[in-house]
Amino acid sequence: MNFLNFNFKKAFILLLVLSLPLISINMEQKKIQNSWFTQPFSFIAQSIQNIFSGLSTGVRGTTSEYLNLLNIKSENARVMKENDELKTRLNQFSENQNELERLRTLLDFQNNTKMELIPGQVIGRDLVVDHKTITINKGTKHGLKEGQAVLTVSGAVGYIFKPQYFTSHVMLVTDRYSVVDALIQKTRAHGIVEGKTKDSCVLLYVERTEDVKVGDLIVTGGLDNIFPKGFPLGVVTDIERKTKSASLVIGIKPVVDPNTVEEVFIVKHAALENFLEKTEDSPNSAQAGHQ
């Protein structure tokens, strides 16, 4: 029965609508944030917040790391380049140092000898394995002639056999066509040095009775009018005494490795230079040559 024709349902909803804010205002005043019924919501909220916070931290961290990585990469490239430049400079410095030492030695040698020398650089090697020759950057234009000795500070290298205008071919003492007059420094016994392999020669026509030992120094004999007398040529490595032969076959290792030589001197005029006399004057120099 509804005498006033009043809609109770609508009134209840209206009341509820109005009361809820009032309740909330009341709850705010009492500070009930930590009430029992808020805790589950707080827990869920915190958990999700933590997840997102963690996620955002991760993303921010990754982004920052990536950005750092990019910076590090560019920085690394810069440092690497700088390092390479420094290494190159260091290598160049070492190379210059070595070259300076080498040139100083060559200059000392040139200044302390009576011979007229022309410095030259090796610019080429032989085309076939059967021959041992080098090409140097000096030719007839620089006063070179066939049969001039080519040597380094340490010892004899070979002699010029095919001079051209700008360059010259040098026959190394290890070439099988090469023939050089030589003598054993200790006994003064003469012989002929011929090329054998790419890093060895052989001393022939030395009498069987000669006292030769492994390690003896072989020097140039000077009779071939190519090399000055007494210049180091090689060291005895083996001695072959054939029963039916009157002479020895002595294996020699050249004091100068002809395969690695870079700078040489060409003897323009030997001017009667005799290294044997110098060796006799200073016994230590023989030892130095030997080494």
Partner: protein, 184 residues
């Protein structure tokens, strides 16, 4: 002078220049840059190429000329250069029509064969015609043959390109009669 002849002379000139470049490369560039590995004998590969491709009679004389040029870069006596190259050319000519291969593979095969023949001939002929013959140098020769073989493909590509550069299809495809007829 006809354009064909002029083109031919130009081709010979260019091939000779290339020969000089290859010899210089072997003697002055490779040993300074990679001294621990023997240089490929590219000049020899060029001789193999022209032995296989060009007309025999002209090739023989051209090889003699190249053999002479070779002595400018080495102490190799002219007699050794000419005899060794002639024997190598002869053996390659005998084999070239008997091998059923084509292109780079064929050239690599002939390079291997030619290098072996060249090295063996050099040792053999040196013992016959030289007063102080060369040694066997087995290891050096073997490595040299191997290096030649490895570089044969690259060399073939280059020589083929160079040869084709001077090849004019319009000229060589015409028969003399037709050519005359057209001109008249």
């Amino acid at each position: 002078m006809s354009s064909i002849r002029l083109r031919f002379y130009f081709k010979i000139f260019i091939f000779t220049m290339v020969f000089f470049v290859l010899c210089s490369f072997q003697t002055s560039f490779w040993p300074n840059v990679i001294p621990w590995v023997p240089s490929p004998q590219l000049w020899l590969l060029m001789i193999f190429f022209i032995s296989l491709r060009w007309t025999p009679l002209f090739t023989i004389f051209y090889i003699y000329f190249l053999g002479f040029c070779l002595t400018r870069f080495s102490q190799i006596p002219l007699k050794m250069a000419w005899t060794t190259l002639l024997v190598t050319f002869g053996l390659l000519s005998v084999f070239k029509d008997r091998v059923r291969l084509s292109g780079a593979l064929s050239f690599s095969f002939f390079t291997l064969l030619g290098s072996i023949v060249f090295e063996f001939c050099y040792v053999g002929l040196s013992r016959i015609i030289e007063a102080n013959p060369t040694s066997m140098l087995f290891l050096e020769r073997s490595v040299q043959i191997l290096v030649n073989f490895i570089f044969s493909y690259v060399a073939y590509t280059f020589f083929e390109w160079l040869d084709q550069f001077f090849y004019n299809e319009n000229i060589w495809s015409k028969t003399p009669e037709k050519s005359d007829g057209v001109e008249q």
